[in-house]
């Protein structure tokens, strides 16, 4: 599962600018800008309601931004300032795959069926080939022997690893993680984070929304701290976590690190 993206060197794989999104009167994103180079990991942190999940969902077309531009080098550039066609939306969605907070596995399908559904039904990969790829990916996350199990027979950590494999099987250019460990029992969080760290090491381009600061510290190339729909601070995780410049960042990190103070 090597993933060295053949993006043009020096040109960011993902470029987001002026991204805005409101739900009714609630302005969730007030102009967000960032870029991400191929093979890098971007982590979004911030209090709930800060807009980090909405930003992520805009990248997969699960939300349609009100304004702004999203471009994936070589594939698609969409300006949301004007009406977006279905074709454009699908092209953007095709670039990424999402891992959900609540896994959202298909409960009526086995693990293997969950993984090959997208490749076989949407990408029209031959079933034998899709199965072979799926089993290799499942083996990589230690779930080969669970291929015929239904999601309800798995622990949360196992389900989320299947969720990750389902995303990988789509062979996306960018992996999106929406609080992938927030629904897990604490002792299962490590299994999922380790898989994600391995993916980063292999060179996958990732955007991760998480509260796991230790993961961000070890794996992220850049951290964005969002609050109130804007990016308050950005930078190298070692810098942000040890010496945050902005007061809001300091308060947020303090609450996360010392919840009882």
């Amino acid at each position: 599962m090597s993933s060295t993206d053949s993006a043009v060197p020096g040109v960011p794989l993902l470029r987001v600018s002026g991204l805005k999104k409101s739900f009714g009167d609630n302005e969730v994103l007030k102009s967000i800008d960032f870029t991400l180079n191929a093979g890098k990991v971007l982590v979004l942190i911030g209090p709930s309601g800060s807009g980090k999940t909405t930003a992520l969902r805009c990248l997969n077309g699960l939300e349609t931004p009100d304004a702004g531009t999203v471009s994936v080098a070589g594939d698609v550039t969409i300006s949301f300032d004007e009406p977006v066609t279905r074709k454009q939306r699908l092209a953007l969605r095709d670039c990424s795959a999402m891992v959900f907070q609540n896994y959202n596995l298909f409960p009526h399908m086995t693990v293997l069926q969950n993984v090959i559904e997208g490749p076989v039904r949407v990408k029209k990969v031959a079933k034998a080939k899709a199965t072979e790829d799926a089993l290799r990916l499942l083996a990589q996350v230690g779930l080969a022997e669970k291929r015929d199990a239904y999601p309800f027979e798995l622990s949360g950590g196992q389900q989320q690893r299947v969720g990750i494999v389902r995303a990988l099987a789509l062979a996306p250019r960018i992996l999106l993680f929406d609080e992938p460990t927030s629904s897990l029992d604490p002792e299962l969080v490590g299994d999922v984070l380790r898989v994600m760290k391995d993916l980063a090491t292999e060179g996958w381009t990732m955007v991760v929304v998480t509260h796991e600061l230790e993961f961000a510290r070890q794996v992220a190339d850049e951290v964005l701290f969002l609050d109130g729909g804007v990016i308050v601070e950005r930078g190298d995780p070692r810098v942000i976590f040890t010496a945050p410049r902005e007061e809001r960042t300091q308060q947020f990190l303090a609450r996360l690190l010392h919840p009882l103070d």
Binding site: L105, P107, V122, R166, A167
Partner: protein, 222 residues
């Protein structure tokens, strides 16, 4: 209380069962099958974002549920000929019953579709499926599980409602019992006998229902 005429009971059993075999059961199955197709279409129309489409569906459901089945049967069989539309008993019954099932079951299916978590739609979209593909592959199979108990009720009600078809000259279970009753004068015996046969059919259906539920249960947490 006079002793029941057991001889008549046994001799009339076969004609009554025959009525079930050629009338009641096929009438119920055919009407239910067509009714489910109507129900699915109506349910999807009601969920449509296009106002006029959902209004048409709502109107249909309102008419079906707001008028007696017997009246619907009579309008189709005795009423339509006066505007030149002559439909024979069996098709008339199938039309009335399947529209009826369509109206009631559409609400069941609509509720079942709405009961599938939104995350399932999103996961379907995420892997690149169209709305239609997500519906067919992800949502409806899960909605089907939720729908089985209420739809079984609809089917069992339908089996009993088919007795109304005797009033538009369809040869079925109750019409057969009535024929023997009128001819022998043993009304109590024959009507209880008809009731017994309906009950047995419904018992079999209930058993079938729990088997289907068990089968569909295989992916649900116990």
């Amino acid at each position: 209380m006079p002793t029941p005429n057991w001889d008549l009971f046994w001799r009339s059993l076969w004609p009554i069962v025959q009525g079930a075999i050629v009338g009641t059961i096929p009438l119920a199955i055919v009407s239910f099958a067509i009714g489910l197709v109507i129900a699915l279409v109506v349910a999807l129309m009601r969920l449509s974002k296009v106002r006029i489409v959902s209004s048409i569906a709502r109107f249909f459901v309102s008419v079906v549920r707001g008028t007696p089945l017997l009246v619907q049967l009579f309008v189709i069989f005795y009423g339509l000929p006066s505007i030149g539309l002559l439909i024979s008993p069996w098709p008339s019954a199938v039309i009335a019953f399947s529209l009826n099932v369509g109206g009631y079951a559409s609400e069941v299916i609509r509720a079942a579709i709405l009961a599938v978590p939104r995350g399932q739609w999103e996961a379907g979209q995420m892997i690149g499926m169209s709305h239609r593909q997500t519906l067919a592959r992800i949502i409806l199979p899960q909605a089907a599980r939720v729908s089985v108990p209420p739809l079984s009720n609809t089917f069992i009600s339908l089996v009993k409602d088919t007795s109304l078809a005797s009033l538009i000259l369809v040869t079925e279970l109750f019409a057969q019992a009535q024929k023997v009753a009128a001819f022998s004068g043993e009304f109590m015996l024959l009507y209880l006998e008809a009731a017994l046969v309906y009950w047995i059919i419904c018992l079999v259906l209930s058993t079938a229902q729990s088997r289907v539920e068990r089968r569909l249960d295989r992916y649900v947490v116990h």
